[in-house]
Structure formats: structure tokens, C-alpha cells
């Protein structure tokens, strides 16, 4: 088993070009009670045309990660350290003015709540046209045509009429489609979707996920999907990052995460959700306790306090990443070669078949 000390993701193993590389990112919020370390050294990479998922509970730092990439962190928050390499340029160094050219144009974002992220006093069409005209040299007429085209692409019925309607005339699922149309209107190379389906019903969620999968295949957009729903990432993403306490706990392909999880937190998450295909309902195994307070983050592993297999070292020293294969890494002392084998609890996850 090989293991390295650094946080730098191992992009050099892949031939396909990295579109985004985040290295040792740290973002903190300087509140009146002290520094809240929301992200404490996060590193990952994203290839062209790839969809990755970031999962974690509230407060794990998944949304702050995406906001940092977009540089939308507002006072009192600040990116303290790290690099965000997007197309060979470091976004951390960019000014807000330079970022405005990137946002909406090269990196687009879909937010959780479509009800609050659309402006109620402008028509859907106007809002899409604004984005297009901001970034592309197009006449109003051309932009309008493009807006209708985008609405057609995301499956809004009679788009030539809908384009002149206001957000309140759209249902929740349609608003989210309109948001996606807006995000995709400048053909971004990276799409960040922050809980895009959390506010929607399952049937509408299925529509939106289907749409995102098609878009990925059709226009080769890279996608970062942020969610707390493990089922959603299993459907769309090929690689999954599990976050907890401002750190990446585990990263692997989705098959590995679901069928061969290595980190006790990932195992715990998988065990605490009911399995729909099992005949009789078994008792759920919850993760006891609550997430750590990031105002005073624990010295060792952030999960140590809730982990049933924690050892003395877990509370004292933050574990490095242990690689079980090229694409699978986990931050856990149990993977150290001297660690005791916890075979009873290591089963976890979901058995295949």
C-alpha cells in the first residue's frame, strides 16, 4: 500500500487533460468569536467531460468549496491558502473583475433553490439574454434566439412563449430547468451544481438528473455535483469525493465508494440509509454524535469522536491519505499497515446482488 503525505491530487496519472485542479485549498470565516475553518486543505482534480460528486453533511464544507472555486466567498470569509488551477490559470490570484469574465462564461453554477436564485421582476428570457449578451458579442435578436434554443434544450414546452414569462409562472422543476438553461447558455466548460435537486420532488428530480446526464454526453461539459443524497451521485457521477469537517475523507470511483468503502465515515453514511430493495427492514445503523465544531477543529481526524474504530493516534494526529489504488484514497489511520484489522466493521456498505 502506498501512501503520501501531501494533499495534492494525483492528476499526473491520467492522460485526459485536467480542467480544474484544486490544491490545498483553505477557506476560513473570520467571525467575531474566532476563525471558523470551513475548509482545511482540500485538493482534487477534474478531467474534461467528467462528472464528479461531492457528498457530505451540512457543515462539511462542500458548498464552501464550490463557492471558493467561483470566488463567491463574501466577507468575513476568505480564501486563506491554496491554488485553484482552472485551465492552467490560478483563480485565487484573479481580481473580482477578471472573475466576472469567467463566471457564467467558463464556469457556471446552478444553485439549490430555484425560487430565490431567479430575479422575480425580469422575464426568464431577459435573464438568459443578459447572461449571453454579457459574455458573447450578440445582438438582442440573436441572443433571444439563443435563449429560446437553450430553453428547448432543457425541455421546456413551447419555449417561444415561455421565454417571455416571469419566474412565478414557472413551476419548481421548470425554474430549475431555466436555471440550467441560463447556466449553459454560454457553453461553460465547467458546471457546478450545488444541490440542484434538493428542493424538488423525486419525479422532477429524475427529470433533472436525466437532463444533466444528457448534457454531459452531448456538450461535454465537466460537472461538479454537490449533494447530500448518495443516490443522486450514484446516478450521475463517475468519481465521488466524501467530505467531512472541512476535509476530504475519501475519494474514489463511484463503484469503489459504494461497494468497497474504506473510510469509517463513508461506511457509516452508507449504513445509515435504508435499502429499498431489501425485503424486510433491518434496523438502521446511525452514526452517533454530531459533526465537529470548526471554530476549534479537532487536532486529529475530524471523525475520530464519532468513529467506533478510533484509536489513540486518531485523536492526536491528522491522518495522511492512504491510497488503496491509483484512484482511491482515504484519510484514515486504519489503513496504515500497522493498524489493527477491523474486519467485523470493515464490511459496511452494500453487498452486490
Amino acid at each position: 500500500m502506498l501512501w503520501t503525505q501531501d494533499y495534492v491530487s494525483r492528476g499526473d496519472f491520467v492522460e485526459n487533460k485536467n480542467i480544474l485542479e484544486v490544491k490545498n485549498l483553505r477557506t476560513s470565516f473570520f467571525t467575531h468569536v474566532g476563525e471558523v475553518k470551513a475548509i482545511r486543505g482540500v485538493g482534487f482534480h477534474l478531467k474534461e467531460g467528467e462528472a464528479i460528486g461531492i457528498v457530505g453533511e451540512s457543515g462539511s464544507g462542500k458548498s464552501v468549496t464550490s463557492m471558493s472555486i467561483m470566488k463567491l466567498i463574501q466577507d468575513p470569509g476568505k480564501i486563506v491558502d491554496g491554488e485553484i488551477i482552472f485551465k492552467e490559470k490560478d483563480l485565487v490570484e484573479f481580481t473580482q473583475k477578471e472573475m466576472q469574465k469567467i463566471r457564467g462564461n467558463e464556469i457556471a453554477m446552478i444553485f439549490q433553490d430555484p425560487m430565490t436564485s431567479l430575479n422575480p421582476v425580469f422575464t426568464i428570457g431577459n435573464q438568459i439574454i443578459e447572461v449571453i449578451r454579457k459574455h458573447k458579442k450578440m445582438s438582442k435578436k440573436e441572443a433571444r434566439k439563443k435563449a429560446i434554443e437553450m430553453l428547448t434544450l432543457v425541455g421546456i414546452p413551447s419555449p417561444d412563449k415561455r421565454v417571455d414569462q416571469y419566474p412565478h409562472e414557472f413551476s419548481g422543476g421548470m425554474r430549475q430547468r431555466a436555471m440550467i438553461a441560463m447556466a449553459l447558455s454560454c457553453e461553460p466548460s465547467l458546471l457546478i451544481a450545488d444541490e440542484p435537486t434538493t428542493a424538488l420532488d423525486v419525479t422532477i428530480q429524475a427529470q433533472i438528473l436525466e437532463l444533466m446526464k444528457n448534457l454531459k454526453n452531448e456538450i461535454n461539459t465537466s460537472i461538479i455535483l454537490i449533494t447530500h443524497d448518495l443516490g443522486v451521485v450514484a446516478d450521475v457521477c463517475s468519481r465521488i469525493i466524501v467530505m467531512y469537517g472541512g476535509l476530504i475523507m475519501e475519494e474514489a470511483t463511484s463503484e469503489e465508494i459504494f461497494y468497497n468503502p474504506k473510510h469509517p465515515y463513508t461506511k457509516g453514511l452508507l449504513k445509515s440509509i435504508p435499502k429499498i430493495d431489501l425485503g424486510e427492514s433491518q434496523r438502521l445503523i446511525p452514526i452517533e454524535g454530531t459533526p465537529p465544531d470548526l471554530l476549534n477543529p479537532p487536532k486529529g481526524c475530524p471523525f475520530a469522536a464519532r468513529c467506533s474504530d478510533s484509536m489513540r493516534i486518531c485523536k492526536e494526529k491528522q491522518p495522511p491519505y492512504f491510497y488503496t489504488n491509483e484512484e482511491h484514497r482515504a484519510m484514515c489511520w486504519l489503513l496504515h499497515e500497522d493498524a489493527p484489522k477491523t474486519d467485523t466493521k470493515a464490511k459496511g456498505g452494500i453487498a452486490i446482488g
Binding site: Q205, A206, A234, D235, F258, L270, R283, T290
Partner: protein, 326 residues
């Protein structure tokens, strides 16, 4: 559940319409048919799950049978007594027997009251205990839901979402209810905390012999906790039956689509899974479609579905479904 099916609550043709006033003098009245003619039984000691998309009327059903809303018509028979036309005073003793746990643990606790007072308030209203005895009950309840007695003097903002939901449960238990309506009790909580609360609910059910009406949109959680499940669409129950029957062989096209839409946290299963993607959105409950309400999104819809509203029929023992195609 087959031992002795004693009906605890019988809901007959329950309707709840909300009035909408329109126009300049706000006179023109329209109705939102939130719950439109539903009937079901809840047996003693069981958990009945109620699922459906937002706006289908599942929460209104819960709130109407606990009489937070006055039903437009229909009967709510609890233990042989019709609650639907009782006034506030007459309903009070039943409020003690039927309690509710709310969705949002942040909004359902008064932020200016201590936890002890929040849990004690229902006991004051129903004159259950005072003084030392009251305090003792509060401490007992807190330990029952996994909190310590020291928490009684603290305020809601000092607790996390999962802990607040436990406080909400303790408050519901304070009057020794027989029947608890859980209105999306876990949807505001994180995955790892959801399991804690669900386990606690099922432990309490075993210990105290409670009956639950479990309202949720999380289909896999409903399957986990419920004995029977009812599927609602636009104010109607379209299918109801034992959990295993409904989930393993759903008969209504809507239930089939709903179940196929659940994302399962297993990549291999997801790749092979054939999804029924429903087109469009749920129609407005203000003027629902004629005939079968699901026909606008149903791919099997025929002329009959437009004209005649399907009746509930038994597809197998204890499993009912409202569809012409069966």
C-alpha cells in the same frame, strides 16, 4: 400486523378545500382542493406511511385529522367517535391522545422558552402534572429521547437540528398519546442524524405501543418505517396497501413511476435500472383534470380515464388501487 386488526382511526370521504378570494372586493371564491375525498383506516400499533410529491395533500391530510384544519366534509372517526365536527372545547381530550411532530425543528420550538417549559407546556394545558412531578416527567422524557436532564434549563438555539427534533418528540410524548402524526419528521435532518431519529421513533413505538401516521416524501425511509403505505396524488389516494406489496408490485402507474424515480445509492443498479420519467408537472389542485387525476401525465391514459374517475379496487388482499387499467 395480522394478529388483531383493531381500527384506531377511520377516515371516511375526507375533503379539505381551501377558499381563495379573488377580484377587487375579494368576493369571487375559488377552491384549492387540497384533500379531495380520501378514505383510509389506521390500525392500532401500526405505522401508516403517506407519500407523494409536494402539493399532493399529504400534510393537509395530517393536519386535518388532528383537527388543526376544519374538514370541509367527511368523517374522522377516532376510537368510535367522530372528531370532524367537534368544537375546540370538545376536541381537547382528543388532542391529548393524538399528538404531532412537525417537519422543521427550527421553527416548531419557541425560541424564548426553555426546553423544560416547551416539554412541560402540554402537561400544563391538559392538567397532567405540576411541581415536582412535572419536573420528574420532563427529566424522564429527556432521557427517553437521548438527552440529559440538565438540558431542561437550556434554550432551543443551543441545540442541533437532530437534538431539536428529539425535543419535539419529547413534547409530543409528554401527554402520553396513543397516536402520533409525524409530518416529515426527518427531512430537515442530515443523513447520519436521520437514522438516529428513525431508530428512536421505532423504539418508542415498541416501548409505548404507539400508532404512527408517517408523512414523508423520502420513499425509502417510508418503506423502512411503515407497515402500510398510502400513495397520494393531487388530493387523492391512488394506491394503498402493505409496504411490501406496494413496493414490490405497485399496480398504479403513478406509484410505478414514483418508485422508479428513487435514486438508489448503488451505481451498478442505477446503470441497469430503467426509469419511467414522468413528463411535465403536477397539475394545479385548483382545477384538477377530469376523470383520473393522473391521466395528464400517464402514458397509458385512455378515453375512459378522461371521462370516469377510477374507483378504488382491491388488487390483492389489503392492497387497493385506483386505476381503470387493472
Amino acid at each position: 400486523m395480522d394478529k388483531q386488526k383493531e381500527v384506531l382511526m377511520k377516515v371516511n370521504h375526507l375533503k379539505k378545500y381551501f377558499e381563495i378570494k379573488k377580484g377587487f372586493i375579494r368576493s369571487k371564491i375559488d377552491y384549492v382542493k387540497a384533500v379531495d375525498d380520501i378514505s383510509f383506516d389506521i390500525y392500532k400499533g401500526e405505522t401508516l406511511g403517506l407519500v407523494g410529491e409536494s402539493g399532493c395533500g399529504k400534510s393537509t391530510t395530517g393536519r386535518t385529522i388532528i383537527r388543526l384544519y376544519k374538514p370541509t366534509s367527511g368523517e374522522i372517526i377516532y376510537d368510535g367517535v367522530d372528531l370532524s365536527h367537534k368544537n375546540e372545547k370538545e376536541i381537547l381530550p382528543y388532542r391529548k391522545k393524538i399528538q404531532m411532530i412537525f417537519q422543521d425543528p427550527y421553527a416548531s420550538l419557541n425560541s424564548r422558552m426553555t426546553i423544560g417549559d416547551i416539554i412541560g407546556e402540554p402537561m400544563d394545558i391538559h392538567n397532567i402534572a405540576t411541581g415536582k412531578e412535572r419536573l420528574e416527567i420532563i427529566h424522564n422524557l429527556l432521557s427517553k429521547v437521548g438527552l440529559s436532564s440538565g438540558h431542561a434549563i437550556r434554550y432551543p438555539h443551543e441545540f442541533s437540528g437532530g437534538q431539536r427534533q428529539r425535543i419535539g418528540i419529547a413534547r409530543a410524548l409528554a401527554v402520553n398519546p396513543e397516536f402520533i402524526i409525524c409530518d416529515e419528521p426527518i427531512s430537515a435532518l442530515d443523513v447520519s442524524i436521520q437514522a438516529q431519529v428513525v431508530n428512536m421513533l421505532s423504539d418508542l413505538q415498541k416501548e409505548l405501543g404507539l400508532t404512527y401516521l408517517f408523512i414523508a416524501h423520502d420513499l425509502s425511509m417510508v418503506r423502512h418505517i411503515s407497515d402500510r403505505v398510502g400513495v397520494m396524488y393531487l388530493g387523492k389516494i391512488v394506491e394503498i396497501g402493505k409496504c411490501d406489496d406496494v413496493y414490490n408490485h405497485p399496480s398504479h402507474p403513478y406509484t410505478k413511476a414514483l418508485l422508479s424515480a428513487i435514486p438508489i445509492p448503488e451505481p451498478i443498479v442505477m446503470k441497469e435500472k430503467k426509469r419511467i420519467i414522468l413528463e411535465g408537472d403536477v397539475p394545479s389542485p385548483m382545477n384538477p383534470p377530469s376523470g383520473c387525476r393522473f391521466r395528464t401525465r400517464c402514458r397509458y391514459a385512455t378515453k375512459k380515464c378522461i371521462e370516469i374517475e377510477p374507483k378504488m379496487r382491491e388488487v390483492e388482499k389489503g392492497h387497493f388501487s385506483a386505476c381503470h387499467l387493472l
